[in-house]
């Protein structure tokens, strides 16, 4: 089956502005979008730049705009799209394009680091297990599925208006530690959330939840942080 891919191309060293390049790919309806990008790069044009690593929805490096929707290129098959055999592939919105489909995720990870994305147990290592109840584990479990693909943050309309807003991905990671019974700095973490660039930046628009390729109820998790702040 012949499919047409219109791919966003931009090399800041050469191009004054972005352009779209068309490629024709012979592909099956069960091929992934990533398979087609690979076919383009391996068989037609090795200069096309995009990120990917595991190709199985675990590493979170190939989030792209596919036909105007944010998706992981490795999780979507051609037949998942109702647009005939025509596909438009663009980089994630919000972030600056480094080259072609590759965006600069440094600001994304900078915000991620701001929430101290690690357990601060506040106790010395000992030979005893640090027990967490299964209820507590289940409560934070959705957030553990996050692969940091940046889809949610790229989709969030608030992020576009408020550049300093932490954004859904970083807030989701904050949720994961605020509600982890083993963490010792819950109050410090909550205090950091209590401002317009923290969790109050979220206006419950659900775009993050809608695009999340791991189906994490991000908006609800952020709601739990808001509730905890109100109950304090």
């Amino acid at each position: 089956m012949k499919s047409t891919f219109s791919v966003y191309r931009f090399d800041p060293k050469v191009d004054k502005k972005p352009r779209y390049q068309e490629y024709e790919v012979d592909a099956e309806p069960t091929d992934k979008i990533l398979d087609c990008l690979n076919k383009i790069r391996w068989e037609q044009d090795p200069t096309l730049a995009y990120r990917y690593s595991c190709a199985h929805g675990i590493c979170g490096s190939d989030a792209l705009m596919i036909n105007g929707r944010i998706e992981l290129a490795c999780q979507k098959l051609l037949r998942d799209f109702k647009t005939g055999n025509n596909f438009v592939i663009e980089p994630l919105p919000l972030f600056e394009v480094i080259k072609d489909l590759i965006v600069d995720l440094e600001p994304f990870f900078e915000k991620y680091r701001q929430v101290q994305p690690y357990l601060i147990a506040g106790r010395n290592e000992s030979d005893k297990e640090f027990i967490q109840s299964s209820e507590n584990q289940e409560f934070i479990e959705p957030a553990l599925r996050c692969i940091l693909c940046a889809s949610c943050t790229a989709a969030c309309p608030i992020n576009r208006a408020r550049p300093d807003y932490l954004g859904p991905a970083a807030l989701l990671r904050a949720f994961r530690y605020i509600f982890d019974s083993r963490d010792s700095i819950t109050d410090v973490r909550l205090k950091k959330m209590d401002n317009p660039d923290g969790v109050w930046g979220c206006k419950t628009m659900w775009w993050c939840t809608e695009v999340c390729p791991k189906e994490i109820p991000i908006t609800k998790c952020l709601g739990q942080i808001k509730r905890a702040l109100k109950q304090k």
Partner: protein
């Protein structure tokens, strides 16, 4: 691939059959082969390789870096890598990474897959050597230095070719069937000749060399799998 960078149980990379460590070099996890349970890539070994031996390697590294002074770097440490990249970028050859990799994958799938035999393995080795020659004629179409996937592909392809050679030579050497290695021409397990780890080293003067490391048999005697 079964195996990896050979290490001891402290994550130190070893260079011979007597567990002599290569000073200051450590490996753990996916790339390494600590030979847990006597082999590598058995079910659940990956978990041990990361959690247990990753931690052990980390503790060793911490102790090591605290015990030695900062070594002097050679005058131009990046020189040889820079030269490799320069040659690749300048090449005006006709070959592309995509074609060579596709042919390599096809041959490895056909000849070095689950069931192997001397003929198929020899055919694969010939093919790999041809592809290595063609690799010298590789051209990089992307001449830029920003996210140059074309160049990255070429470098990775060079490593793939080396790995394919190592896997195939190891499979040719082991004239028996054991674990996941099934030789149709040697269907039986042969503990007399092959109760040993296959070790492979490469250096420019001597090329690829195969030797063995004895298996440390402790409480559990290795037995043929009969189920």
């Amino acid at each position: 691939m079964m195996g990896g960078i050979a290490t001891d149980y402290e994550g130190r990379v070893i260079i011979d059959g007597k567990n002599t460590p290569f000073r200051g070099l450590y490996a753990a996890g996916e790339c390494a082969c600590v030979s847990v349970h006597g082999a590598n890539r058995l079910g659940c070994n990956a978990l041990l390789d990361t959690l247990v031996f990753g931690r052990r390697a980390g503790m060793q590294i911490k102790a090591f870096v605290q015990s030695v002074a900062h070594p002097k770097l050679p005058a131009k440490p990046a020189k040889s890598d820079a030269e490799t990249i320069r040659i690749l970028m300048k090449s005006s050859g006709k070959e592309t990474s995509g074609n060579i990799r596709a042919e390599l994958q096809e041959s490895m799938m056909e000849n070095v897959s689950v069931f192997r035999q001397k003929n198929s393995l020899t055919a694969a080795l010939d093919k790999i050597m041809q592809l290595k020659t063609r690799y010298q004629n590789l051209a990089i179409q992307d001449k830029g230095n920003c996210f140059n996937r074309d160049l990255l592909d070429a470098i990775e392809l060079g490593h793939l070719l080396d790995l394919a050679e190592v896997i195939t030579r190891g499979a040719l050497y082991r004239e028996e069937s054991r674990g996941a290695h099934s030789r149709e021409d040697f269907p039986e397990r042969d503990d007399v000749k092959f109760l040993a780890h296959t070790m492979i080293r490469y250096d420019e003067a001597k090329g690829v060399r195969i030797f063995t490391k004895p298996v440390a048999v402790t409480e559990f005697e290795p037995k043929e799998r009969k189920y």
